[in-house]
């Protein structure tokens, strides 16, 4: 991974978004019931944050998301590394993994309701499901593509199969597994918000979006969307920074 500097070009993306929103929403006279002005949205967001009304929603969403993501990530790593190490295990589970990975988790929400009820359990389970399959596949690919020459080297020095796995295969597989974790990060964030919109709840950013829409508080709705977008960007960037730090050796 090449180290990247923040340049003037990094400002073009947010700048374009801003200009489009202001041109269309603030100046252009788009239907206010569907798109509020940018300035109005920022003002609403500021007021929601300052008066603390959003705090409970943020915490509720963050909690569901983190629990589901951490459990899904951990389970995905364990299962992925295991099936990556055994061709038979991979062949026998490949269909299930690919099947469930291809499904939009949010589309099978009745199944989650059936299994986990309408409380936090089903939402956490949906985040878990959105995370686990992506991480399984990437961790397994990481093991598949770990260098056979390095394993042979370790064996020639008398390494046991467990030593080969822990000291060579695992570190070799981690960068690919981390790509899975990063992909799952934004995917699971989407899923938790959509789950909160679909499945009844008192708190949560998804619920806040849905309610704001229902009561025609359109600028509140966009305020939460703006917050989510910025948060997703920051989380993803932070994750990439950690990856770079941890896997400086990749590709060299």
């Amino acid at each position: 991974m090449e180290s990247r500097r923040i340049t003037i070009y990094s400002a073009i993306g947010p700048g374009l978004l801003l200009i489009a929103w202001i041109a269309f929403g603030d100046v252009g006279g788009a239907n206010r019931d569907l798109l509020p002005g940018f300035i109005e949205t920022v003002r609403t967001l500021g007021s929601l944050l300052i008066h603390g009304q959003l705090l409970a929603d943020i915490l509720a969403t963050a909690q569901r998301w983190l629990i589901g993501y951490v459990l899904g990530g951990a389970a995905g790593l364990c299962v992925g590394l295991a099936i990556g190490s055994s061709r038979r295990l991979y062949d026998s589970t490949e269909f299930l993994i690919e099947f469930f990975r291809s499904l939009p988790v949010t589309a099978i929400f009745p199944l989650f309701l059936l299994l986990f009820g309408i409380g936090d359990g089903s939402k956490i389970a949906m985040v878990f499901a959105a995370t686990v399959f992506v991480v399984i596949l990437n961790a397994a690919y990481g093991v598949f593509h770990a260098s056979p020459a390095r394993r042979a080297m370790a064996r020639s020095f008398g390494a046991t199969p467990i030593q080969v796995f822990v000291r060579v295969t695992l570190p070799d597989a981690l960068p690919q597994a981390a790509i899975g974790l990063r992909t799952a990060l934004s995917l699971s964030l989407i899923v938790v918000v959509v789950a909160e919109m679909f499945i009844g709840t008192e708190t949560g950013l998804g619920q806040r979006i849905y309610n704001s829409y229902a009561i025609d508080a359109i600028s509140s709705m966009y305020a939460v969307i703006l917050l989510l977008g910025v948060f997703g960007f920051v989380v993803n960037k932070s994750f990439i920074a950690c990856e770079r730090q941890a896997f400086r050796w990749v590709g060299k």
Binding site: A149, R150, S156, F157
Partner: protein, 251 residues
Amino acid sequence: MSVINFRNVSKSFPVSGGTLDVLQDLNFALDAGEILTVFGPNGCGKSTILGLIGGAIKPTTGAVTIDRNIYAMIPTIVQDYRRSLLPWLNVESNAIFPLTLAGVPRREARARLRELVERLDLSLDLTAKTYNLSGGQAQMLCMVRALVVRPRLVLMDEPFSAVDFHNSLVLRQHLYDFARQLQLTLVFVSHDLDEALFLSDRVLMLSQRPARVVEALETNLPKARDQSLLTSPIFNTLRSKALSILHGIME
């Protein structure tokens, strides 16, 4: 007492629609402290011979005898040094990797490494990242990693063919000096005639596949060797002799 004994060793590999005969009726023995080079055309089965010695490959017929109590660990140094180093570890951790596998405490492992580096008079930046090393330094690290376990037998599979010419001369000299100093038994695979002759006590000259030993050429060169040997009359005579054998093989 010979270290390795090949008796009537043949090896075939199954391929689609039959078998591929790689080695045919090999007979040779190797003494302790001897440097033997296996020399032959590409794809003739040189690496297979190393696999048979290392134990990763079993002969189809015949027997390879080697006392695995004495030669429990047989490090192999390969051509692709980048893929054999662990880039997530620094130079020192790579060098002591085999010792830590064997459960030697890090402190002791480091002491053994320092001792080896001093004894061989090497300049090696132990804190460097492996991906910042030049090809020559990286392959030197592979040699140090192999030697740190105090092996008595080392196998080398064209270790210098991915290194530039200048560095290959330097590494070749180092290797020769190390091997003599540490009284190593060395089996070296090469397709570079000068390299083979310079390093060896004996050169096994192989035919095209299925490989047979056409000639086991004794080099009879002096024990103390440096680059000046390459331009000496005795080396030239030896090279001519080897070339005429090669000529016979190709016809």
